[in-house]
């Protein structure tokens, strides 16, 4: 319970004896908004009632939704939802991971009548989404990322995420064939488990081609730092790195800078091949339409919320970009082979014996950590061959 909520309750019980004054006030505000503003301005999207078979979905992005990256991948799924019958989508871009996101969720629920919210950024989860979930127990909140757990979080919240490290492993195979210096690079925003898992999968993929490949990682410190990302790319090229990939919100700058410096790049989040047709090898892309549609279907039929949704290539949560012209046949064949195995749950990326880059054994010999293993979602190490520190 936050201080604010406690205060609200005190004030309510002190001034009005009725049970739910807050709701009543909200109803009045909404009625006024609908009757006054809606009819006066003739706004077509003002909801008057939550009709059967209709669903309003709210999607909140941390950045611009056409950034060639993380937000664009989410927005593509939101665009797919708009085509479903009975579904209305309301969106808000560039909402910071602060109190602002609570206000955004609040107005989507109160004014637009949204009953399913996709707060898509990592930092929206705690405390913002959890607080709103407590306040609106009938609204479903589906968060993108790996933070939900059954014993800690309410049932009207949940998380969806994709095993995109599978695609990063395939990126690594393409990179392993393309590199001549046997040095590849990874530009990362922050050292959180999802990012580390991608760095490790990319490195392991490249090492499956040549075991002596090293991967130089640079952390920029935040999700969107265009100048720093460009500097990081330049520094890597200066150190002899000839293939880079990244985990930042908008890979545009890295892909373009890499192409200008004459090295290769593997994409992330969305397809960036249009930015560098020759230098783009392949890319790891989200396919959020799958979990979005599942959540919408469940919400419309009244089925209980699936709180923990995960999937990889097989489940259609992630996909790879088409190969660029610089990827040789031998690389395509190898990557396609591994991809085929992944589609049949026949491939394990993280299996023992695996050492981190300080020499410590992180997965003992004989242990296989399959994709669904939640231990992988707490990854806090970089595998041997990665130059960098968490």
């Amino acid at each position: 319970m936050s201080k604010q909520d406690v205060n609200g309750d005190c004030r309510a019980s002190a001034t009005k004896p009725s049970a739910v004054p807050n709701t009543a006030r909200r109803e009045i505000v909404r009625a006024l908004a609908v009757a006054g503003v809606g009819s006066a301005l003739g706004l077509p999207f003002m909801p008057t009632a939550r009709a059967e078979g209709k669903l309003v979905v709210g999607v909140i992005y941390v950045g611009p939704k056409d950034d060639y990256g993380y937000n664009q991948a989410q927005a593509q799924a939101a665009a797919a939802l708009k085509k479903l019958p009975g579904v209305t989508v309301v969106e808000e871009e560039k909402v910071p991971e602060t109190m602002d996101v609570q206000k955004a969720m609040g107005s989507m629920i109160e004014q637009d009548g949204a009953s399913l919210i996709f707060p898509t950024s990592y930092g929206y989860f705690d405390p913002h989404m959890l607080k709103m979930a407590e306040k609106y127990p009938k609204v479903r909140f589906a968060h993108c990322g790996g933070l939900w757990s059954a014993d800690k979080h309410p049932k009207n919240t949940g998380s969806y995420f994709g095993y995109i490290d599978e695609c990063q492993f395939l990126n690594g195979i393409a990179a392993g064939h393309a590199t001549k210096s046997r040095k590849i690079g990874f530009i990362a925003a922050k050292a959180i488990p999802q990012v580390l898992r991608n760095i490790n999968a990319f490195t392991l993929g490249a090492q499956s081609v040549h075991p002596d490949i090293t991967c130089q990682v640079i952390f920029t410190g935040d999700w969107a730092m265009p100048v720093k990302e460009a500097e990081a790319t330049n520094s890597l090229v200066d150190q002899g790195v000839d293939v880079v990939t990244m985990h930042v919100d908008s890979p545009k700058v890295v892909v373009e800078t890499a192409a200008r410096r004459g090295i290769y790049g593997c994409g992330y989040h969305a397809n960036q091949s249009a930015l560098a047709p020759k230098a783009y090898l392949t890319g790891a892309e989200w396919n959020w339409t799958t979990p979005y549609t599942a959540h919408v279907t469940a919400a419309m039929s009244g089925a209980p919320m699936n709180n923990f949704m995960r999937g990889g290539l097989k489940e259609g949560y992630v996909k790879t970009s088409a190969y660029g012209p610089a990827v040789p046949d031998v690389a395509r064949k190898m990557a396609d082979g591994v991809k085929g195995k992944m589609m049949k749950d026949d491939f394990v990326i993280f299996k023992g014996p695996l050492k981190d880059n300080t020499g410590k054994v992180v997965i003992p010999s004989g242990t296989s950590r399959v994709q669904t293993d939640v231990v992988l979602e707490q990854m806090n190490y970089l595998v041997a061959g990665v130059v960098g520190k968490v």
């Binding site: 056409d66 952390f219 265009p226 520094s235 002899g240 545009k252 520190k389």
Partner: protein, 311 residues
């Protein structure tokens, strides 16, 4: 194994990256700080240059995309900045208007309008400015890359010298300084204080707009909404740090650009601990220098007398 062109430089990569970064990343700082220097010399502070920078970045990219000529983009960016500067100058000439408050308003206006108008330009790719290959003499690829210099950088450097010379040796320069140091003296001499300040702010806005076009049209070389990330504000602070001297503005801008490259460069050679601190290097540097050079017993040396912060 490693081919010649991709040979690693090892630790030499760090000073080279800082040097290259200084050249690559400093240009927006140079233009914005020179523009602000000119405005402040006339006795006004325009805090809105962050908005002007973003507006210039968007306008420049948009015009370059629509016309296919990046230089027209640079010009458009300058004119957009000039308009914003003119607005600031005119509004501040009204009685009892605070220039700092107007500046903050214009900062929000500029970024807001740029984001609004810039939506359609996030996806398309505009032609960008060419580079001068000053490193053609070197056989080392990294040195050649570090010496890829944009013409705007050269113009910025010349402009710093020109402004420095102009403030001391030309009639216009002296008038601007007089208006900034003592409005009463300027009035007694028969100059219109308001007009000089409006023109100075408009010219400052022009420069800041050009600085913005460098961001979108050369480095990093694309338009998106996170492009500036506060560089316009840092450049305004940089003017105080440079003690209102155009030449020192230039060197301070180089320092800031170079510091920004330090974090990534150190990580690329394997210095992996403390990267959060190295990434914060430009900000730490500002704090250290400000703390070392401030004194409660005197106003800042070199500050124009009419500035509302020093008055």
């Amino acid at each position: 194994m490693a081919v010649d062109a991709a040979q690693a430089l090892g630790l030499w990569g760090v000073p080279l990256a800082v040097f290259g970064g200084a050249i690559r990343a400093s240009t927006p700082f140079i233009f914005v700080s020179l523009g602000e220097c000119l405005t402040e010399k006339s006795g006004r502070i325009n805090l809105g240059l962050e908005g002007t920078l973003v507006m210039g970045a968007m306008g420049g990219y948009g015009v370059s995309y629509l016309t296919g000529n990046p230089w027209l983009g640079v010009l458009a960016a300058g004119l957009a900045g000039c308009l914003l500067g003119l607005l600031h100058g005119v509004v501040c000439s009204l009685p009892r208007v605070n220039d700092i408050a107007v500046g903050i308003g214009l900062m929000l206006l500029g970024t807001g309008v740029a984001f609004f108008l810039g939506k359609p330009f996030v996806q398309p790719r505009a032609p960008i400015l060419p580079a001068l290959h000053l490193g053609a003499w070197s056989s080392i690829a990294q040195v050649r890359a570090a010496l890829e210099v944009n013409v705007l950088f050269v113009i910025g450097a010349l402009l710093a010298v020109l402004l420095h010379w102009g403030f001391v040796n030309t009639r216009v320069g002296l008038v601007v300084r007089m208006v900034g140091d003592s409005a009463d003296a300027a009035r007694a001499m028969g100059y219109s204080v308001g007009r000089v300040r409006i023109l100075s702010t408009a010219a400052g806005g022009f420069l800041a707009g050009v600085g913005g076009s460098f961001l979108s049209l050369y480095y990093p070389g694309s338009w998106n909404e996170g492009l500036s990330s506060g560089q316009g504000l840092m450049a305004v602070a940089l003017v105080i740090f440079a003690r209102w001297s155009p030449l020192r503005c230039f060197f301070a801008a180089l320092l800031f650009g170079g510091m920004g490259a330090l974090g990534p460069a150190l990580q690329s050679v394997g210095v992996t601990s403390g990267y959060y601190l190295f990434n914060a290097a430009p900000y730490v540097l500002t704090l250290v220098i400000m703390a070392a050079s401030c004194s409660p017993r005197r106003t800042l040396a070199g500050a124009p007398g009419e500035l509302s912060v020093t008055r």
